[in-house]
Symmetry: D2
Subunit: 463 residues, 4 copies
C-alpha cells in the first residue's frame, strides 16, 4: 500500500501509475538518498526525536539496502513510485517499526532536492576532471606540434597564418572558462534544503545545521519555501553544460573540416574512425561528428527545463519530477563528449606536408604587409587600400604577394623598399607577431608554459 | 569484425565504441528494419540480383530473428553498432553466404531513413487513435454535464458565463486540428528512400517502385541525395507533437486550477490522485501536473532536432544518428499524455453545487447588459461606459447587477426599462447567446451533435 | 481616455503603459484591421445593427485613416495601447458617434486573431513566391552546369561522384516540401474567429458566415472559446519556418565550405561578397554565413511561442500579446533568407577547372567497383571487403583504383577481368548510375525536365 | 565606398546590403565604440604609432560625433554597414587623414567584441540595480503585512499555513541568487579582447595592458583567437537572464492566480490594471500576465544564441553578427520585467478579510497534528496514517480537524489528549514552526531583519 494512503479509498489506475512513476530513472539517486537518510537519522537521534537503537537499526538497514542495490539484488518497485519510497519501504520491510520514524520532519519535497543537489555537486566534480583531461590532451597535442604553422580563418576564408599551438590553446582557454562556470555553480548550489519539509519547515526540534554540515553543505537554506520550490541550480548547470557543448561542437566542426580530403590537415587514426556499410573506401571522423551532434541534446535538455519551470507557482508541483531526466542526460552526454574529444585528440596526427604545401594560398601575409606600410607612416586605411590593390594584382597574375617585384609594388606606392620582403611569406609573417596574446612564437611559448604549469604537465613529456 | 572493416587495421577504442553505438536505442526499429529487408530481398530476387533460394533463406532467417527478438532471446551487440548491422550480422551467423547479398544496392543511409519513415507512419497512426480516444472522453464528459454553466475567464478574471460543454468542445476542436496536422505529416513523409543507397543511387538494376509499393509508400523519393540527407519529416512530426503537448499543457493547467480548494469546480477520483509523504490531508491531481510538465520534454525534443540539423552539409552525417532518441521520446511522451488525460477525464466529476454557488460573483452578465443597451440603440462604446459605471456602483454597494433597482439604472441612463432584468443573471444571460459557435444552448447542442456523430458516440450513451 | 475606462478611477502608470503597449509593433496589422472592420461594419448594417449611413461614415473614415497611415501622417499613440484602439479612437475623432457602434458584437480578442490569421495568410502567399523564386534560381544554376561532376560527400568525406545538377535539385525537392507545409498551414488556418467576441459569442443577431466570406475565409470557426484561445496556427507557421530556415542553413554551410580556399569549387561574385576592415585580401561569402546564422533566430522565435503558450488557461490571456513579434520576425527573416539565397545563387560560378582537378582524390569509384563485383556474382558483403583491400593497396601505393593493374586486382580476387576498367574513374562511374532518382545523367535530366516544367522555366533559357 | 574596397570591383547588391547591414541595431553600441576608440587612439599615440596631434584630432572628432549622436543629428548610413564603420567614416569626413590611422592594429573582429563586453558590463550593473529595487519592494510589502497568514500550496492544493512574509522572502532569496549569477558573469567577462585584431594579434608595438586598464578590464585576454571567436559571455548572460525571467514568470503566475475571483487574495490597484474593450466589468492584472509571457522571449533569445554558435569554426564568422539583437532584447526585456514587477508590488493590497475567511479550508493543520503524535512517540509513518484517517472523518462530516471531539480522535488512536487542541487551527499551527528557515514567526522575523539590513531599508519605514 502507498505510504501516503491514509485518506485514500482507491489505488491509482495502472495507466496513471505507469505515467507518474519515477523510480525507473530516479533510482540513480540511491547513493545520495541513503547518505541523506543517514545524516537525517543521526540528527533525529541526536535531537531526541529517535532512540539510538532505532537510529542504529536504520543505519544498518540502509547499509544493507545499499549493498543490495550495488549487488543488483534490490527489487525496484514501480508501485512504490520513486527512489525515496522504494528505499523507505524496503527499510520497513527489513527492520520494521524503527523505519517508520525515518520520515519524521522530512518530506519528499526537501528530500529529493537534497539528493539532487548532492548529485549535481558530484557531477560537477566529475565534469571538471573531464575538462582537465581534455585540456591536458590538447596541450600535449600542442607540445607535439611545435612550430607548425596553419592557416587561420575568418568566415572560413584564409585570413592570417597562426601557430597550430595557438589555435589549440584557444580551445583550452574556452574550456577553462567552462570550468569556472561549473565551479561558480557548485558554490552557489551548496546549501542544504533538508528540513524545509513540505514547504513550511517543522515544529519538531530538528537541527538543520547538523545535517547540512554532515552532508558537506555550506549551510542550510534560509527559506523553506524557496528550498523546495526552486530548481535554478539545475537550470544553471544545464546552461553551463550547453556552453560546454557549444564549445565542443565547434571543435567537432573544425576537426571534421580538417579531416576532409579538401583540407587534409588532420588524420584520425583507425582507432577513432569508422567505415561505411556500402562504400569500401570510407574512413569517417564519426566521434567528432557525434560530439557536434550531441551538443543538440544538451541544448534540448536545457530547453526542457526552462519550459518546465516557466509559470509554476511556488513550492513543489509534480511537474518538477521532470527535472531529473534532462539533468542526468545533460551531464552524462557532456561527460561522454569531453572524454571522446580527449580520446580523439590523442589519436590524431597533423599532416605537416599537406599543411606546408597549402600555406602559400590565400595571401595570409596581406595584413602584415599593411602593417609594414603603417611602419612607413602610411595611415592604416590607406595601407589597407594599397595592399588590396596589390592582392588584386596578384589575382590577375595568379601569383603570391612575395612574387611581386619591387617595381610593381612601387607602382602602387613609392614607399615600398627592399625591406618589404622581410614581411612576406608565411614564416616571416608569423615571426613578426609580437603583441600580448598574439600568435608570435614567443607569445605562444609563454602561454604554453603557463598551461603546462597550471595543468601539471611535464614539459619534456610530449606524449 | 566490423562489416565495413576491409580497409581498417585497427578497431575503434572502447570509449569510441560506447560513445557511438546506437543499438541500445535504435533496436526499437527492428520490426521496420526486417520489413524493409524482406521487401528489399524480394525485389533483388525479382530483378535477378539474387537467386530465389537465397531470397528464401533470407526471408526464413529474418523470420527466425524477429521471433528471437520478440521472445527476448536475441543478443544485441554493441560492437555491431546499430540495429541494421546487428540483424545483418546475426543473419549471416544464421544462414551464411546468402546473407552477404542482402546489402546489395543498399546503404545504411537509405536503410535507416526507410525504417524511420515506416516507424513515424506507425506512430502517427497510433497517436491519432489516442487523440480520438481523448476526444471521445471529452465529448462523453460534455454529455454527462448538460446544462452546467461555469464562469468563462479571460486573463483568469471572470468574463462571461459559458456552458461547460462549450469549454470541453473547445479542447476537442484543438485536438481535431492536431490530428489534421498529423495526417498531413504522414502523407508528406510517405515516400520511399530505399534504393538511394549511400547518396547517389546505384548502377545495379533495382526496382525502387517495387519496394516502395511493397512497403506501402506512395512512391520512391525522386532525388537520392535528398532522400538520405533530410530529416524534415522528423522535424515536422516533432513540431506537431509540440503543438499537441502545448494544447494538453493548457488542459492540465486548467484542471489543476479547477481542482484547487479555491476554484473547487472539479473533483478527481482517488484513482487519478496521489497523496503526500508528509501531509496526510493532501490529494493532488498529479497526472495533470505531469501532463503539463511533460510538455516541456516534447518541446525540448523538437529543440534538439532543430539544433542537430542546423548547418549540416547534405547527405548523411553521423550527427543524424541523434535524431532517434528525441523522436522516440516525443512520440512516447505524447501518447502517454493523451492516454492519461483521457483517463483523467473519465475519472473526474464537476462539483455542481460549488459551481452554482460561485456563479454570481464577477458580474458575468455585464456584457449581455451592454448588448441590451445596444438593442436600445445606444452605441456600443457608450453602452460599455454605462455598464462600466453600473459595475462601479455594484462594487460600491457590494451587490450584483441584478440587485440594482431600475431607478439606480435609470440614473445612469434613462433608456433602461423593466425588460432589463431579462438580461441579468447567469442563466438568462447564457440563454441570450445565439451567434454561430457561441455558448448558447442551441449552438452548443448542435456542435455536440456533430461531434457525437463524427466520433461515433451513441447519443444515449453518456458514460 | 481609455476606451474601457468606465469602471476605472485611475490611469495606469507610465511604466505599465510603456511595458504593456503593443502599438509599436502591432501597427503593421493596420491593413488587416481595417479590412476586418470594413467587413464587420458592412455585416452589422446588413443585420440592422447599424444604419447604412453610419456604415458609410465608418467605411469612409476607415479609408481616410488607411490613407493617413500609408502617407505616414497617422499619429500612433501609445496611450491608445494597440492598433485596434488606435484606429477605433482615430475613427471616433474623425467621424464621431457612428464610430462608437463599430465595436458592437466584437472584442479585441476575436479582432486581433482575425487580423493575425489574415496577416499569416498573406505572409504564406509571399513566402511561397519567394520559395519559388529560389527554386527557379537553383534550377537555372543547374541548367548552366550541365554535366559537371562534383564529389558527393557523406560525413564530409568523399563518397561517390554526383552531378552538380543532382545536388542542386536536392535543395529544390526540400524547398518543395517546405512549400507544401506552408500550404497545409494556410488551409488549416483559414477559418474566421470574428464574432467569437470576448470568448462566448454574442446574443446580437450577427451573421458570421457573411464576414467570413467577405474576408475570404472558408467558414467561421465553430467554437468561440477555441477561436480566441488558440495560437496553434502561429506555432504551425513558425515550425514550418524553422524547417525552411534549417534547410537554408544547410545550403549556407555547404556554399561557405565550397567557397573556401580548400574546396575552391564555388566563386561568389563581388556583388555578393564583402571584405575585411583589416585584412586587405579577404573576400567573404557573408550572405550565406548570415543565412546560416539567421536560422537561429527563426528557431528562437518558435521557442518563444512554445514557451509562451505552455500552460495558459483557455481564452485570451495578456501573455498572448507576445505572439506577434516572434511571428513578424520569423516571417521577415525567412523571406530575407530566401531572397538573399536566390540572389547568391544568381551570382556564383562553379570553378570547373578546380573541381575537375580535385575529382581523382577520395576513391569515389570504390562503390561502383563493388557493384562490378556483385554483377560478377560476388556477394556484396564480400565485394565490399575486396574493394576495401583494393583501397588499402592504393593508399600504400598512393594511387587511384584505376591505376591498379589487372594482376594486382586479380591477386585480391580472380574474378576481376579487363572490363573492370569500364567501372573506374569518375566519369565512367557516374554513367553507370541508372536507378530511379539516382545521379545518372538520364535520371537527372528527367528530374530537371520535370522541374523546368513545373516551375515554368523555358528550357533554352539558361540564364 | 566601402572601407574594405581595395580589391573589389563591384559593390554588393541592394538586397545583400539590406540583408547584411547591422547599423540599424548595433548603433546602440555607439558609446562603447567611442570609448573604445578613445582608449585605442590614446594608446597608439603613447606607443608612437600616431602623433599626439593626430590623437587629439581624433579625440575631438569622436567627441563631436558623440554629441551629434546624442542630439540625434548623426546620419546613420546603411551602406556603411555597422556602427564601427559609420563612426570611423564619419570621423574621416570630419577630420580627414588622422582618422585613417585609427584602425591601426585593430579589426572589427576585436572591436565589436570589446564594445559588446563593455555593453554587457553596463547592462549587468543596471540589471542588478533593478533586482535590488524589486527586492526592496517585496521586503516592504512583507513589512506592511506582518502576521498575515496565507495558505501554502503544493500541487496548487492547500498544504500548510505560512506567513505571507515568508512567501515574499522566498522570492527575495531567488532574486539574490540571480544577482549572484549576474556578478559571476560580469567578473568572468571582464577581460579585454582589444588588440587581438583579426584573430592573430599584430606585429605593431601596441600595449594591450594600457587599453585594457583604460577601459576598466581586469586584463587583456590571453589568446587572440579565443578573443575574437567566443561568445560564451553572451550565452552566460542570456542563461542568467532566462533564470531571472523564469523566476519572474512564477511570481506572475502566482499573482495572476491570487488576483482571480476564486482566490481573491490580492487586489491590484487601477494603476496597474487594465480593462476590456467589450466586457465593462473586467479589471485584469495585465502587467503580471505580460511578465509571465515575456519570459518566453528571454528563453527564445537564449535559444537563438545557442543555435547560432553551434558548430561554428573558430574566429569570426559573419553569423556572429546575429548575437546582438537577442542580447539587447533579452536585457531590455528583463529590465522591463523587473521594473514592472516592482511597480506592481507597490500597487497591490492583500485582501486580509478574504484570506482569513479562506483559511479554515484544506486542513492546513494536518501535518502539525502528525507532529503532535510524533511528540507522543508515535512513529511518523503511523502518525501520518492516523491523521489521514482523521481527515477522512472530517471529509465525511464536512468539518475541520479542530471540530473533531476528543472521543472521535481517541477512537482513531488513544494517545490523543486534551493538549491536541493546542496544535489545531491555522494560527496555533503557524506558531508551532520553529526550525531554521521555517515559517514560524520568529524565524521569519529574523530573515526579514537580515533583508532589511542587507537592502538598507529602514525598519520603521513600511511604505
Amino acid at each position: 500500500n502507498k505510504l501516503w494512503g491514509g485518506r485514500f479509498e482507491k489505488s491509482v489506475t495502472d495507466c496513471v501509475e505507469k505515467f507518474s512513476e519515477s523510480v525507473s530513472f530516479d533510482k540513480v539517486l540511491y547513493k545520495q538518498d541513503i547518505i541523506g537518510s543517514r545524516a537525517h537519522a543521526t540528527m533525529l537521534a541526536h535531537q531526541g526525536l529517535m532512540s539510538e537503537s532505532d537510529r542504529d537499526a536504520i543505519l544498518r538497514g540502509l547499509d544493507e539496502i545499499q549493498t543490495q542495490i550495488e549487488d543488483d539484488r534490490f527489487v525496484w518497485r514501480t508501485d512504490r513510485e520513486d527512489v525515496h519510497m522504494n528505499i523507505e519501504a524496503a527499510l520497513t520491510d527489513l527492520i520494521g517499526e524503527p523505519a517508520k520514524k525515518l520520515h519524521t520532519a522530512r518530506s519528499r519535497n526537501d528530500q529529493v532536492v537534497t539528493d539532487l543537489r548532492l548529485w549535481c555537486r558530484d557531477a560537477i566534480h566529475q565534469m571538471n576532471a573531464c575538462i582537465k583531461k581534455l585540456q591536458v590532451a590538447l596541450v600535449k597535442l600542442a607540445m607535439q606540434n611545435e612550430g607548425l604553422i596553419v592557416p587561420g580563418y575568418t568566415h572560413l576564408q584564409r585570413a592570417q597564418p597562426v601557430l597550430l599551438q595557438h589555435l589549440l590553446l584557444a580551445y583550452v582557454e574556452q574550456l577553462e572558462r567552462d570550468s569556472g562556470r561549473l565551479i561558480d555553480c557548485s558554490v552557489r548550489l551548496n546549501f542544504c534544503p533538508l528540513g524545509a519539509c513540505a514547504l513550511a519547515g517543522t515544529g519538531l526540534p530538528i537541527d538543520r545545521f547538523m545535517t547540512a554540515e554532515a552532508l558537506g553543505f555550506t549551510s542550510p537554506m534560509a527559506n523553506s519555501i524557496d528550498a523546495v520550490s526552486d530548481r535554478d541550480f539545475v537550470l544553471e548547470l544545464l546552461s553551463v553544460n550547453s556552453i560546454i557543448a557549444m564549445h565542443l561542437s565547434r571543435i567537432g566542426e573544425e576537426w571534421v573540416l580538417w579531416a576532409s580530403e579538401e583540407f587534409g590537415f588532420l588524420i584520425p587514426s583507425d582507432a577513432v574512425s569508422t567505415g561505411s556499410s556500402i562504400m569500401p573506401q570510407k574512413k569517417n571522423p564519426d566521434p567528432m561528428e557525434l560530439v557536434r551532434g550531441k551538443s543538440a541534446r544538451v541544448v534540448g535538455d536545457l530547453m526542457t527545463l526552462l519550459v518546465l519551470c516557466k509559470g509554476l507557482p511556488q513550492a513543489y508541483n509534480r511537474d518538477l519530477q521532470e527535472d531529473k531526466e534532462p539533468l542526468f542526460d545533460s551531464v552524462n552526454t557532456v561527460i561522454g563528449m569531453l572524454d571522446v574529444t580527449a580520446e580523439f585528440a590523442e589519436n590524431i596526427t597533423f599532416n605537416k606536408e599537406r599543411i606546408l604545401q597549402a600555406l602559400p594560398a590565400g595571401h595570409l601575409d596581406a595584413t602584415t604587409l599593411a602593417d609594414y606600410l603603417v611602419k612607413k607612416d602610411i595611415p592604416f586605411r590607406t595601407a589597407h587600400d594599397i595592399v588590396g590593390k596589390s592582392v588584386a594584382l596578384c589575382l590577375s597574375k595568379n601569383c603570391q604577394l612575395l612574387d611581386l617585384t619591387l617595381t610593381e609594388l612601387r607602382d602602387l606606392n613609392p614607399v615600398f623598399g627592399e625591406d618589404v620582403y622581410e614581411f612576406l611569406g608565411v614564416e616571416k609573417c608569423v615571426n613578426k607577431f609580437s603583441s600580448y596574446g598574439s600568435t608570435g612564437s614567443d607569445c605562444v611559448a609563454k602561454q604554453l608554459f603557463q598551461w603546462t604549469s597550471k595543468l601539471d604537465i611535464e614539459s619534456n613529456n610530449k606524449n
